[in-house]
C-alpha cells in the first residue's frame, strides 16, 4: 500500500529527462491537467549535466492508460527521454522532514524512534524537534504512522525519486526512448 492507502498497482513511476529550460515544468504539468491525467507525486532536480533536469513522476493510471500518458508526454519538444520503472526493479527513495512537539520528558522517546528507523534529528528547540528520514516510501509510511503518536507540528515529504536497479535487467521496465542526453554528460 502507498501513503494514501491506494493499491500500488495504480501507480507507475516515470523518470523523465527534460531540457533544463524555462517553463518545462509548466509544460509537463499543463499536459497532465489538460488531458485529465493525475500526478500522484512529482520530484524535480537538475542532473549532473546542467542542460537537463530529471522529473520523477508517479502517475495515477486510473485516470488514463499509461501508454497514452507516455505517448503524449513524448510529444513535448523539451522531453528528452522517458523511462517507466516497475516498482520491483527500481530503487526508490523519498525524504521526510517532520517537526514534532516533544517536551523534554518525551524527547528521548522520539529520538529513540528516529534511531530505530535510521533517521536523524536535524534541529532541536526548547519543546520541539525536527527529524529527518530518507528511505523507501513504505518505510516513510511506517515512520509517519508511528510519529503520529506524538504531536506532529509540520510534516513534509519530497515525493519519490527512482532509478533502475543495476544488478537486474528488469523484464517489465521498458526504455521508452533510447536517445539519451548527448555524450557530454
Amino acid at each position: 500500500m502507498s501513503a494514501n492507502g491506494a493499491p500500488v498497482e495504480r501507480h507507475h513511476i516515470l523518470t523523465v529527462l527534460v531540457e533544463n529550460k524555462a517553463g518545462v515544468l509548466a509544460r509537463v504539468a499543463g499536459l497532465f491537467s489538460r488531458r485529465g491525467y493525475n500526478i500522484f507525486s512529482l520530484a524535480v532536480a537538475p542532473t549532473d549535466d546542467d542542460r537537463f533536469s530529471r522529473l520523477t513522476i508517479v502517475v495515477d493510471v486510473e485516470s488514463a492508460p499509461l501508454e497514452q500518458v507516455v505517448n503524449q508526454l513524448d510529444k513535448l519538444v523539451n522531453v528528452v527521454t522517458i523511462s517507466e520503472l516497475a516498482p520491483a526493479s527500481a530503487v526508490q527513495r523519498e525524504l521526510l522532514l517532520a517537526t514534532v512537539a516533544a517536551a523534554p520528558a518525551e524527547r528521548s522517546q522520539v529520538i529513540q524512534l528516529v534511531g530505530v528507523f535510521g533517521g536523524e534529528v536535524v534541529d532541536v528547540g526548547a519543546d520541539r524537534l525536527t527529524v529527518m528520514l530518507a528511505g523507501p516510501p513504505e518505510k516513510l509510511d511506517g515512520f509517519e504512522g508511528l510519529l503520529a503518536t506524538y504531536e506532529v507540528v509540520d510534516l513534509q515529504r519530497t515525493g519519490r525519486v527512482a532509478l533502475p536497479r543495476i544488478d537486474v535487467q528488469p523484464p517489465t521496465s521498458r526504455r521508452l526512448r533510447t536517445v539519451g542526453p548527448p555524450a557530454a554528460s
Binding site: 499543463g30 489538460r34 497514452q68 510529444k75 519538444v77 536517445v179
Partner: protein, 589 residues
Amino acid sequence: MQLTGAQALIKSLEMEGVEVMFGLPGGAILPVYDPILSSSIRHVLVRHEQGAGHMAEGYALATGRPGVAMVTSGPGATNIVTPLSNAYMDSTPLVVISGQVPTAAIGTDAFQECDITGVTMGITKHNWLVKSAEDIPDVVASAFHVATTGRPGPVLVDVPKDVSFAEMEWHWPGNLDLPGYRVPGAPQRADIEAAVALMAAAERPVIYAGGGILKARAAEALRALAERTGFPVVTTLMARGAFPDSHPQCLGMPGMHGNYTAVTAMQRADLLVALGARFDDRVTGRVDAFAPRAKVVHVDIDAAELHKVRRADVAIAGDCKVVIEALVEAAAPAFGELGPATRIDKWWDQLRRWQRDVPLHYERHDGPPIKPQMVVETLRDASPPDTIVASGVGQHQMWASQYWRFDHPYTWINSGGAGTMGFAVPAAIGAKVGHPERTVWAIDGDGCFQMTAQEIVTATAERIPIKVAILNNAYLGMVRQWQEMFYGERYSEVYLSPDLPDYVKWAEAMGAVGLRAESPEEVAPTIEKANAVEDRPVVVDFRTDAFEKVFPMVPAGASNDDIVVHPEHEERAGAERLAWERLAEEQRR
C-alpha cells in the same frame, strides 16, 4: 555581419524561404516591422489579428508550405489564439511571431503585456520566448522544423522588444539543438505484413482516409493502394480531395453529416484501414457502437493517436506516404492473383445498392427561397475543376463538403477540429495569396461572414480577388437545426435577419463587388457575373431557405446506426437496417 535582433528575425524568415506573411504591427513588434521595408517577403496588412492567423492557415492548407503571421504583444497576441488553436486541431503548419514587452518588464504587468507562451502552451506544438538576439536564428529554424515535420502544427515565437533592438553577430544554425524532438522512422516490415494479411482476409474492408494523407502528400500513394486492393475509400472532412470524389471507389464523407453509404460502410465493415485519421467523435458517433465488427489497421505519424480512441489490431507509427507505399508494395502478391474486382464483389454490390437507394438528397423547387445545396451545385458546375473552396463552420460547411466534387488535393480549406466560425473569408484570402492563378470561392454562412468580414478590406487593398458566396438563411443555421430537432423547436438566440446588415452594400463599402440572388433562376447568372470579376473581391448574398436542414445526420452521442436520413429515404434506410439486424442475428445463432 552585425545585425539587430529584428533584422536577424526577418533574415531568418527569408532563409526559411518565406515569401509572404500576414500581420499587423504594434508597440512591442515595431522594431521587426522596420526591416520588412527592405525584405523580399511580402507582408499582407490585416484588419484584425485573427484574420492574419486564418490567412496563414489558408495559405498553408492550399500550398503545403508553413503559414507565417506576425502580431504585437498583449491583445495582438491574444487575438491570434483562435487561429493557433484551430491550426493545432487540424495539424496545420503555422509559425506565429509575436512581440513581447522588454525582458526587464516581463512579469510587471507592463502595458500590453501578456504571458502568451503560457496562454498558448496547450494549443501549440511548441513555443519559444527568445531571451537573447543571438538565439534568434536558431529559434526560427527550430520553429519551422517543428511546425513542418512529424505531425505538423502551429508554433509561436515570442520576441521581447529589447531582444529585437539588441545587436548580434549573424549566423545560421547548422544543426538544431532539439534533443527531445524526433519523428518516427520507417515502418517495421512485420507490421506492414500484418496489415496486408488483415487486408487480404477482409470481406468488407473500408479505407478510412484522414487529413494525414494530405499532410504527408500521400494522395497518389492512397490512390495506388485503393486501386491495388479494390477497397472502397471514405474521405473525412479533413481529407476531402485526398481521393477524387469522381473515382468509382470513392464513397465520400463519413461522420455526423456523412452520406449514408460512407457512414454505413464503416459501421458494417470487417476491416478499417485508417490512414492519417484519428477516430474523431464526429466520425465515430458513439465510440462503443462504432464499426463493432471491424478489425483496425491504424497508420498515424503521431504515436499518441494510436489506440487513443479505438484499439488497433495493427498500429503503425509513421509517415502516411512511406507506410502506404510500403503497403502497396507488400500487397502486390496477395492482391495480384485474384484481382481487386472479384475479391470483394459482394461488398461492392451492397455498397452500390446503398448508393442507389439512399443518395444525398434535397427537394428541388423552382420558386424562392433558394435551396442552399443548389447554390453549391451550381457553383461547382460553373467553376474550374481546380477551384479552391474555403468554408466556415456550420450548415454551409457541410453542404459544401457534401455537394462539391473534390477531385484534387488541397482544394478544400476548412476548419475541422476546432470548428471556428469566421474561418472562410481570411482562409480564402490566404489560399488565394498562395495560388493567385486559381479561382478561390469562400462558401460562407451569414453568421460566419459577420465574424471576419472586415478582411474583405484587406483583400481589396492588397488586390486579392477572392469570391464569397454567403448562404444567407438569416439564422445561425446549424444551431437552429439542433434546436428544431433536439430542443422541441424552441429557437433561442439564433435569428440573424436576412438584410441586416445589407451584405451588398457592406461588400461595396469594403471595395468589393456586391451581388444578390433571391430566386433559383438568378443563381446561375449571378455566379457567372461573379466569376467574371477578376480585379477585386466579390461577395454574393444568396437568400437561401432558412428551414433547410443538413441530412443525413447522426445525432450527437448516438450510434452511427441511428443515422437520420432525408425523410424521403427513411423507409429504405429503415428496411436496410432491419435486414442487417436480421442477418446479424442469424450469424449469432
